[in-house]
């Protein structure tokens, strides 16, 4: 297996695949030479090459684990050096605008399978790589009508071998889903940090930050390089989700203005969960609690 881009995700995949004995050896390639040295020292890679053709020419499987902004150009760059039968997959968080382009870059006799493991951390870089990162997580594969079923099965087998569930999803549907459950929360967290640069807000409140702010903004420490690409490349679905979220905030504003003393207590007692007419603040808070419990722990 060759991993192109040796950061948190590429590094964790290499460690996990080696530990599960799913691959003979892991070869790495990165534009950042320091990452390669570190990855070998940490046992993440068996060897590396600074030469892209040498890095991929013997690989049965090439995993692209770069920021999504360079996935297409990287696919184009490795294409001439792939051996017959090689499978190329990726771990990118954006699929819609990429999958068919990446497919089109590859020569006949090689295969592309779009993939995205739903796992990560606010940490980045190979030093943060963990062999257990994908345990009990979900990997989404995004086959198209051009996808070779055998190649798809091989990539699915890799993820399953790491204790990861595999789900197939249309690339566009993937991007809409991720916009809501991942990209929007990241955007909102970055936005809350940016709020402290607003001329009418000072940094001083940060000294009194409670657990809510801490948890809420954990992901705002994520790699700006990676998230810049994700926001830019999934901007359609993301801005649509943000529009709906802003509508929701307007609804909540009204509900707060109209909130009456004791309403939540009355609702809790009477267990009122119907949703006719404009929701009261009490209803919104109680429904939120119900939805929150549906999120897997």
């Amino acid at each position: 297996m060759t991993v192109i881009g040796v950061g948190l995700i590429g590094g964790s995949l290499a460690l996990a695949a080696k530990r599960a004995k799913l691959v003979e050896q892991v070869v790495g390639y990165s534009k950042r030479r320091g990452d390669l040295y570190k990855a070998v020292a940490l046992g993440v890679l068996d060897r590396y090459s600074l030469n892209l053709s040498k890095a991929v020419q013997e690989a049965d499987l090439v995993v692209l684990a770069t920021p999504v902004g360079v996935l297409e150009s990287m696919t184009r760059a490795i294409a001439p050096y792939l051996k017959k039968g090689a499978i190329v997959t990726d771990v990118g968080s954006v699929k819609g605008p990429l999958v068919s382009k990446m497919e089109a870059c590859l020569p006949d006799g090689t295969f592309f399978v779009g993939g995205h493991p739903i796992a990560g951390s606010e940490k980045s870089g190979v030093s943060a790589a963990l062999p257990t990162l994908f345990n009990r997580s979900v990997a989404i594969l995004t086959p198209t009508s051009n996808t070779d079923r055998k190649a798809l099965l091989k990539v699915a087998r890799l993820w399953k071998g790491l204790g990861t569930s595999v789900v197939e999803m249309d690339p566009i549907k993937h991007d809409q889903t991720m916009a809501v459950v991942s990209h929007l929360p990241h955007l909102l967290a970055y936005g809350l940090m940016e709020l402290f640069f607003h001329p009418r807000v000072t940094m001083q409140p940060l000294s009194f930050s409670a657990g809510s702010l801490r948890d809420f903004t954990r992901v705002a420490e994520s790699s700006p390089e990676i998230w810049h690409d994700i926001f830019r490349m999934n901007q359609g679905a993301l801005l649509e989700a943000l529009d709906l979220y802003q509508e929701t905030l307007e609804k909540m504003k009204k509900a707060i203005c109209n909130a009456q003393p004791g309403e939540a207590t009355a609702h809790t007692r009477n267990n009122v969960h119907h949703r006719s007419g404009p929701e009261t603040l009490a209803q919104i808070l109680m429904h939120a609690k119900t939805v929150r419990r549906k999120i897997r722990p």
Copy 2:
């Protein structure tokens, strides 16, 4: 010490004060009889009374730990039964509209000190009480020109005895600060859960929820009863913070639309942190990361 309202905060304070031997005994009062039974069984209370006058008449210190919506009426209710020299304090998350009213409820010879420990959890109820909840946290006290300095020092000593730092703050300033660092993050988290009730969003994405959504919405499991009161009573400062946040989201939208490939990478390399002209998405993400590091862990 008498604790009125025996939930997460009241219960934790009782446990912590007993463990630190700062109080002789803790007497409890609650409108929920079940909470009192549970609190005694858990060792949180030494005894309880279902009669408000009996609960407070011997207390040197009465701590009001009810939802903020009933703090004023509860202060009025206990006022006739307080002994000479008694100090009343509270742990409410909203101070501006309450402190002077609560002061005014109390008879001469008794003392009011507004307080708010910045600690909590998405859990609620006395079963979630922890003697360590206030360790290394900050308690804000909100004295006014009417506050007795000796009473203020006694309440400060209680919190310090629990390993809590004490900061004095103007009640209005307190509410503005909390609006930004706590109430707004809660509102945004509740809003993100409410988004799943939007007619154009389905619940299905929840099956793919990543760590970001999980952390982001942890607080949406908080008690609707408590947060209904907080949002309602701090609505001025909260809606102002929300307005500024919405401005920030608009700015981010524009930055996303204008984002150019490779910008974040270039910025990271050149360490560009100036803020002249409209910020680029790359700048916003990098600044967010910097601010995030200022939040105490």
